[in-house]
Structures are given as C-alpha cells and as structure tokens.
C-alpha cells in the first residue's frame, strides 16, 4: 500500500478497538513467567552448552598471548573460543567497535574469549582461569580535555555537520536579551532489565539464533556478514524482549560468539552478557558538552539560536546528534547548529532512547528557562511566543500537525503552574525548598516501510505475522487492535506472531517508529485480506461491511470465516511512504511539568509530582502509550538526578559497571506521574493517523527537573546529573 497523501476516513476511524484502553494481550504470559525470553529458550534446541564471555581487562592495546590451558582443562569445559583464533568479524553499517576477533583491544571489556561448558557455573569458573598478557597502549578517555580541539563531525559524504540559516552572529550580537551557556550531559547506559542473550544452533550451513534484538532484519543482515554466510542461511527469533532502549538495535557480541562457538563445538550454545560486562562491552549514550546561545527581543521572540554539541566516540563512530531538535523546534530567523566529534577510546557510543533529543533538550530547555528568567517572562509564555507551524529553515514546509501550544496551555492549567512561586528560592516548607519547573519536548516521527502477513482461518481467526518486535512497548496489543479493527472482529479473535526473521519485514523497534509503521503495515495487509474476502464472497465494489466477526455483502450476511471455508486466506502487504515526510515535517510534542522538594540541609532532591501532556497524533492504546510515557519520564528522572557512567580517565573504562553503582531510579524516587494525550489525529503520518510516543516522554523531562531545582534553590546547575555535590556549597548556610 502506497501512502503518499493524507489519510481519508478509513476502517481504523471506527475506533471500536483501536484507541480503546486495552491491557496488553501478552500480559498473562509475562505475569505467569511463560513468555519465552531468549535465555530461557531451553526447548528450542537439545543439548545446549553454556558460554561465558571474558571481557578485556584493558581499554586499549593488544593481546600478546592468551593461555587457555587451565580453562580448557577445567571441569565441564567443552572448549574456549579465543579472539586470537579469529579475524575481526566484519561489522554492519551501524556498528563501530569490533565485536569479536583479532588481537587488538579497542575498549574495555571487549569480548576476547568465550568459554563453553556444560553448565553456566563451569563456564564462569573456567573463564577466570584464562591468563591474558596485554600490551597496553595510551588512549584518550577525557572528553573535556579533547573538546576544545575537537573537529567538526562529518556526515557520510564528508560534509561537516554545520547548519547556518540567516545571520546568527549579527543577530546574536544585536539581540537586546541573550544568554550564552555551556551544558554537559554524562555517558549513560541503557540498563534494560533483560541482559543481551542468545541461543545459537546450526543445522548444516544454516544457523538459527533465539535472541533479544529490536531490529530483526538488521540483525539478520549483520550476523550473516559477521559469520560470512548468505543472509538466507540466518534465522533470528526474538518474540519477547525485556527492554532494549536502543541497546539491542544492532547485534552485539553475545550473538556473534554464540553463533561462532556453536559452529566450532557442534553444539547449540547459549550466552548472556553478564551484567557487569554490559556497560563497557556494549554501547552507551555518549556524554556531551553543549554550548547554547540564544538572542531574543524583549517580548521573548527568538532572533538568534545557536547550538553546538561536542561528543566523543571511537574512531569511525558517530556524534551524539544533540542539536537536531534545535533546527526545528522554535521559530527564529537566524540559526546555527554544529556538532564536533572527539576520538575517544572508551566503549562505543551509539543510540539510546531518543538519541540526540534526550541530551539535546536537557540543555536547550534549561537555556530557554534561563532566557525566560532573564526576560522576566513566564517560561510557558516564552515557548508559546516562539511556536512555529513550519520548518523554520524551510518556511514552505509546514508541520503535518503540531499542537505544542495546546500541550503547554493544558499542562499549565492542570498542573496549577500559575500558582507557583516564580521567584527562585523563596518557597520553603520546613526543611524543604519547593520548586516547580517545566520544559517542552520534541521528537520526530519517522516513517519507514513495514510489512505484514495476515491469515484468515475458516473459524474466523485472524493471525498476524510480522518481524516487528515488542520490547515491552505493547506492539502485540496495538497490532492485534489494528487487525481486529480492520477485519471487524473482536480482539480475542486475533493472534499476533512477532520477531521471527522468516516473517515479512517490519519497521522494527527504534526511534519511536515502531508503533505507527508496524500497525500501518498490518493495516495494509488487512486491507488486502478484506479484498480477498470480498472476492470470495462475491462482493462487487464497495458495498461490503466488516463488523462483529461478520461480513455484510449486498444485504447478505456471512461469518468472516466463511471466506476461508475452502482454505486459509493469506494476504501480505507493506505500507510504503511517498514524500509525505518531506513535504511535511512530522514530529511529536510534549510539555513537562515537575514539582521538586530539595532538602535545604543536604541538597537531596525528591520529585513530588510529574505531568506530561503529549501531542502525538492518534493514541492507539492509551494504556500502553501511558506506560511508555511514564517509563520515559522515569528514565528522564534518572538522567536528571542520578545516572552517570563514571569514567576512569586513566584506565579508560566506566567504573560503576553494575546496577548497584549505576543508579537508575527506584520506586521510592518516582512520585505521582500524570500523562495527558491531546485528542488529535495526524492524517499525514499514515492510515493510522498516529505517531510514536515511546521516546517523546523522555524528551524535555530532565530539563523540567533541572528547572524545578533552580526554582526551588535559586541555584542554576548546567551539569547533569544534578547530584548534590554540584550545588551543596551554594545552598543557604545551615550553621
């Protein structure tokens, strides 16, 4: 199905199933522990051996030798896969760091061996017996030190990542009110609940991997390349994923070493990355240093916007695109954005939930608060004044639908924003300094082809097959809702099968593009199935109604399954987009409001209330959409207050590499969270008229918290996370 003009009224608009608050259909499997996660696929291949990954003990250098003798002789050991026995495996287009093979160590905890044994405990014990002789090399690990000389990042064609529009320098110089400040965000790790895990088994030249991966076809492509075998010889199966957040977008070492070891030792091999390995072995959200300059008229209208971000990565890696939203978010005639990239020898920086926008808005939305402060203007009003309904650098290109102003106004009203004390540091209740902050959120809606297959059985059951993944987001449920709505059957009559690379290729899960594209693909396949049903039942033209499990054709009524009485009907199609996202800027919007209490003695910050109001097109399932947003708000709270990979700048690694040291929020940190979705549709997005929300909830929330801390204390913190050591000396004296 080609989608190249705004959606008209279609079967989804009936909203009998779509848009209804629907508990996730896979919930019972999860609550009973029967959802098959990768490391628990004991049933899929007999005789599984256990692998344990040994990570490099240095950050940069070479392995001179590895003594495997003790490990090989240890109890239960089947064999050891050594990085020295392999050439570095070829990488897919989105990976930078070597996944396995060769003597070179590019980063700490790079996988250098896999011990395979009859039990996990035997493999682990033997891994500790491997003796590695390293030749250390000096590396670069300090972003702040390299930042001043970091060159401009370049795109794939070698063009520097700089965007200029109008004349920023003169506009900034002549602006009556301006701010110019530097903000920093730290390295962060995904810290998903389910570690990366894979069971690999070979059948002749074909390998099947039961794994935990967000993007099945990328995984298939990259694993085939890594193993040097044709793509059709690889099958990935990933029906349930215990969180990904971008950490499972691309194949990781678990997949590679499990497949290599299974081939070498002629046994199915099961591998999970042990938790303390994950932070340094896999990817992370890179730290940024961001300079923002804003110039405005006295009425708050922005006249000059500049955002420059510096991040680091391994040679060949990409920058954290923290400036991207700044090109689009606010009006302003003179603009500049730039990205600089330093070469670091830390582990690979790569996508983590809302890459770019998450750290970018953490900075930009403090800067807006600072500007409002300087203007003596309400920060909500400042954002309203600077709303734009067009792409600011291409004024002929409108937003497909944008109601940021609606988010701001509704949020201010529901939150009671105007009752706050606007003067920072003046609202004290006992030992607590109370503060209120807000920020706006922005994240693009990305359109990408997505296919599905739909089967209709004689009993009327509809089965959807697509390689779409459910990373805890609720994909199963919205896909079932889409099929039920389109085919006119109750939700219970739909089965959904996901995550198998033998299924039609979907958009996958990433960049909050999963929901809209995968359901649109399912819709396309269902429309094709409706045509097949119509044909079977002898319908002519449009006079056919699918409802309540039945089909009405020219006054005659059939059970839907009657169309399949002569055999299952199978329809396959994809949604493919024309230039709808080129002619129209497609984005999602949010307003975040936060109340904090800061302990006037110790500086501890407690969140008291959080509200997000979202403008994101049609909400397919308010229950799972809300879960996405509150989960993202929680992640934003961690980013604002506690999450930071501590870099050892001498030895080049993330020191706090476990969940005791890397502090994600706990339940006690998170207060009442309220989420409001504006009632809207975006007909330019797809036949679903929906957009993603999975990352939107994270965008801006960190700055809202930082702004609330400022309002509480009068102390402006520009370095995340806002741990108390950064402002203790600026709190009121207590003795």
């Amino acid at each position: 199905m080609k989608f190249d003009s705004p959606a008209k009224t279609n079967p989804i608009d009936r909203l009998k199933v779509v848009g209804k608050p629907t508990p996730r259909i896979d919930g019972p499997l999860k609550t009973t522990g029967t959802a098959p996660y990768a490391y628990e696929r004991h049933d899929v291949a007999a005789g599984q051996a256990y692998g344990y990954v040994l990570g490099a003990g240095i950050a940069k250098g070479r392995i001179k030798s590895m003594n495997l003798a003790h490990a090989n002789q240890a109890s239960g050991v089947i064999g050891v896969l050594s990085t020295l026995d392999h050439e570095p495996v070829p990488l897919g287009p989105s990976n930078t760091a070597n996944l396995f093979g060769g003597a070179e160590v590019q980063h700490y905890h790079q996988a250098i061996a896999l011990v395979v044994a009859e039990t996990f405990e035997q493999a682990r014990a033997a891994a500790h017996l491997i003796l590695v002789d390293y030749e250390r090399e000096k590396g670069h690990f300090d972003l702040a030190e390299l930042a001043p000389a970091a060159p401009l990042a370049k795109d794939g064609k070698g063009k520097p990542k700089v965007e200029n529009f109008g004349d920023f320098d003169s506009a900034f110089a002549s602006a009556p009110v301006s701010i110019d400040a530097v903000y920093t965000t730290p390295d962060e790790t995904h810290a998903m609940m389910e570690p990366h895990a894979t069971v690999a088994a070979w059948d002749g030249d074909n390998v099947t991997v039961w794994t935990s991966n967000q993007m099945i076809q990328w995984g298939k492509r990259d694993l085939a390349k890594a193993l040097g075998i044709p793509r059709e010889n690889v099958r990935l199966d990933s029906p349930f994923i215990g969180g990904g957040f971008g950490g499972k977008l691309f194949i990781r070492s678990d997949l590679v070493v499990a497949a290599l070891a299974a081939r070498r030792f002629h046994r199915p091999v099961k591998v999970t990355l042990q938790r303390p390995l994950i932070m340094n072995n896999t990817t992370h959200r890179p730290a940024t240093i961001q300079r923002i300059q804003l110039g405005a008229e006295r009425d708050g209208r922005l006249t000059a916007i500049s955002h420059e971000s510096t991040s680091g990565n391994l040679p060949g890696g990409k920058p954290e695109s923290a400036v991207s939203q700044t090109q689009l978010f606010y009006a302003g005639a003179n603009r500049r954005t730039a990205m600089r990239l330093a070469e670091l020898d830390l582990p690979e920086g790569n996508a983590m939930r809302a890459p770019g926008e998450a750290p970018g808005l953490m900075a930009l939305e403090i800067a807006m608060d600072e500007l409002a402060d300087k203007l003596g203007m309400d920060p909500v009003d400042l954002r309203i004044v600077n709303d734009t309904q067009v792409d600011p650098m291409n004024p002929d290109r409108p937003y497909s639908y944008r109601d940021l102003v609606g988010c701001l106004r509704r949020g201010a009203e529901v939150f009671g924003w105007h009752e706050r004390s606007a003067q920072p540091g003046t609202n004290r209740q006992g030992r607590w300094l109370i503060g209120h902050g807000m920020a706006a959120g922005f994240r693009n809606n990305i359109l990408t082809k997505s296919a599905a297959r739909v089967r209709l059985a004689a009993d009327g059951r509809v089965t959807v097959e697509t390689d779409m993944t459910d990373i805890g987001t609720g994909s199963y449920t919205i896909i079932a809702q889409t099929a039920a709505e389109t085919m006119g059957v109750p939700l219970e009559q739909v089965s959904v099968e996901l995550g198998d690379s033998d299924f039609p290729i979907s958009a996958g899960s990433g960049g909050q593009w999963g929901a809209v594209n995968s359901t649109a693909g399912v819709y396309a396949a269902c429309v094709k199935l409706r045509e097949m049903v119509a044909q079977k039942l002898g319908a002519n033209g449009e006079d056919i109604v699918f409802a309540d499990g039945r089909v009405e054709v020219d006054g005659r009524s059939f059970a839907l399954g009657d169309a399949a009485s002569g055999g299952e009907l199978v329809a396959e199609d994809a949604i493919e987009y024309g230039d709808v996202d080129e002619t129209h800027q497609q984005s999602t919007f949010a307003a975040h409001f936060v109340e904090v209490a800061v302990d006037a003695f110790t500086g501890e910050t407690h969140l008291k209330r959080m509200l997000a109001v979202c403008s994101a097109g049609r909400i397919l399932n308010p229950v799972s959409a809300r879960s996405q947003v509150i989960g993202a708000m929680t992640m934003g709270a961690g980013a604002a207050l506690s999450e930071e990979l501590a870099v050892d700048k001498r030895f080049g690694f993330f020191v706090n590499h476990d969940l005791a040291g890397y502090e994600v929020p706990v339940h006690a940190d998170i207060p009442h969270q309220e989420v409001i979705f504006l009632d809207e549709t975006d007909p330019w997005s797809s036949p679903m008229k929906a957009k993603g929300v999975g990352e939107l909830g994270l965008c801006g929330v960190g700055a809202a918290i930082a702004n609330a801390v400022y309002n509480a204390t009068g102390v402006r913190i520009r370095d995340y996370p806002l741990t108390l050591d950064k402002y203790l000396d600026r709190l009121p004296k207590v003795t």
Binding site: F601, S642, A646, V655, V666, A668, D669, L728
Partner: protein, 315 residues
C-alpha cells in the same frame, strides 16, 4: 566462582574450629554479600561453614537492662522488634535505610557487620586493589572516588565501610560477642571491632582467624531522640554518601556517628562533647580529612546532614 567444599556447623565453637582449621575457609550466613563476591571471584573461599542452623536467632534481655541480639537474627526481624523500635530506634532506622526488603530478610546481624566495601575497584578484578590482592596497589586513588572515604583512610586504601546498621551500633556503644576456635569467648567493644586498616586493608576487623560472632549486645536504653539520616543519590538501594546516626537528649547534648566517610563507622569523642554545636562537632568529625577532588563535598555534607538531624531532633 571457584569450587568449594561445604559443611553445616553443629555449634558456634565447632563452626569457629572448622573455619580456623581449614585454609581459606569462611562462614556463610545470609550470604547476601559473600555469594556475590564469590561469583566475581573477589572472594574465593575453598570451604564454607554454614552457620544458619545454629539458632542464635533471638533477641533477649541482658542482665544490665540491655538487649542481646543473636548473630543470626535477620535484619528484618531486628528492625521490627518492638523493644528495638522503642528503645533503640536509631538501630531500626539504620537497618531499614539499607539494602532492600529481600536482602534484609536474608542478611544477619553478624554477617552484616562483616560486609565488605563497595569500592568499585575492589569489585573489578582487573584493577589493582590492596584489599583484594594485598600489595597490588590501589586503583581507586586517583580514580573515580566520589563514594569513597575522607577520614581514617590510608595511602594503601581509601575504601569505606558501607553498612548502615553498624553506624547505629557504634552510636549505641554496642558490644560484639564472639567465640574463638579454642572455645573461649570474648566481648569486643564496637569501637574496636572495625579497624583502621592502614597498611593492611585486607584486615578489616578485630576478629582473629576463625573467631565467630555469636551476638551483639546493646547497653541499657539511652533515652533521647534516635535519628538516622542517610544521604544518597536515590532514595533506596544505594550506599550512603554520608549517613548520620544520632541520639539527642532533651538538653540537645548527645552522641553522633557517621557512615560513608571512613573505613569504619566514624565516631569522635570531641564531636559528642561539642554537641549541640553542629559546626564544632562536624569539625571534629572531619578533622584531618584527606578527601579526593571527587569526594571533598563530603566534608560540608557531614556538617549539613548533622545540622538537619539536630533540627529534626528539636521538632
């Protein structure tokens, strides 16, 4: 984890003898710390003596009006005990500030005293650590040290004792009762139980090889307000940046111990004597501090947290 042999002890004295007579043996009770460290091979005992079957799980009155807490009383039970809550509330408050409900259900009174530091370099076996491998050096010095110690540390080790319960026991002047491998018993004042490790960071307590903790006794109730404030980056399941245990009398004199800043729960006589002067008490508690750039904020944090505790005591 290295393979190990295992036995269940029949009595405290036999447990002590078993550990003393087997090279590289350890007691195991709740196992909440030891088993984790064994998985990482930070600890690699070759023999475990399981003491869980020894009883020692009751809280009973002592002759001088205090309480005897058996070494195997679980943290949850100790914190919930009516007498502890009434007369030694600082202890309850400290215990529930630590770990998680699940861990406190397993963790024991004796074992908790022996939990090891949470210094990340101690946990990472690729890094030099004098505590894990004596003589190998200290990677934490000059490294990421925000959590680490500012007083009582040495140039061999800047780790902290991480627990909460012990900070309360220190302020209460508890006594640790033990039995030695030869069957004799002794009572160790809490002040002497954890040691400043100086050049030998691998030796953390006054216990002799095989010496087994049987109980912790609390002297008769002190009265006053019992407060415990643990400052951390998240509100649960995090180790203290600084914690303050205090017992404050109506005349605002009292005693104070500090966690999160030293190799042991930190109590200084001059600080107790200075109360209610918070600034003077804090000066005494942080006297001679040798912080790193990462953790120098703890000096001010001690003072501010103590000020908050003293304000709380007034209300």
């Amino acid at each position: 984890m290295k393979a190990f042999t295992y036995e269940r002890a029949a009595s405290p004295a036999e447990a002590a003898k078993a550990v003393a007579s087997t090279r590289n043996a350890k007691f195991v009770a709740g196992g909440t710390n030891l088993i984790d460290l064994m998985k990482l091979e930070v600890e690699a005992p070759t023999h475990l003596v399981d003491v869980n079957g020894l009883g020692l799980d009751e809280i009973t009155p002592t002759e001088d009006g205090g309480l005897r807490i058996g070494a195997l009383v679980r943290n949850t039970d100790c914190a919930a005990d009516e007498r502890v809550r009434r007369d030694y509330a600082v202890l309850t408050r400290a215990i529930v500030a630590g770990a998680s409900g699940q861990l406190r259900n397993k963790a024991t009174t004796g074992g908790n005293l022996l939990q090891r530091t949470r210094c990340p370099y101690f946990y990472d076996t690729n890094q030099a650590c004098n505590k894990r491998r004596p003589g190998s050096g200290c990677a934490a010095i000059g490294g990421a040290s925000r959590q680490l110690g500012i007083v009582g540390v040495s140039d061999k080790c800047i780790a902290t004792y991480p627990g909460d319960m012990a900070v309360a026991l220190r302020v209460l002047d508890a006594v640790v009762e033990t039995v030695k491998p030869d069957g004799t018993s002794r009572a160790i004042p809490f002040a002497d139980f954890h040691r400043l490790w100086g050049d030998t960071p691998e030796v953390e307590t006054a216990l002799e090889p095989g010496e087994f903790i049987t109980a912790v006794t609390l002297p008769k109730p002190l009265g006053g307000k019992h407060l415990y404030h643990k400052v951390r980056d998240r509100r649960s399941y995090a180790f203290a940046l600084v914690s303050i245990a205090a017992v404050v009398q109506p005349d605002r004199t009292g005693r104070v111990a500090v966690g999160g800043i030293a190799p042991k729960p930190w109590r200084v006589a001059a600080a107790d004597a200075a109360l209610p002067d918070v600034a003077a008490a804090a000066r005494a508690l942080t006297a001679g501090a040798t912080p790193t750039e990462d953790n120098k904020f703890k000096i001010a944090l001690v003072e501010r947290t103590l000020a908050g505790v003293m304000a709380e005591a007034r209300s």
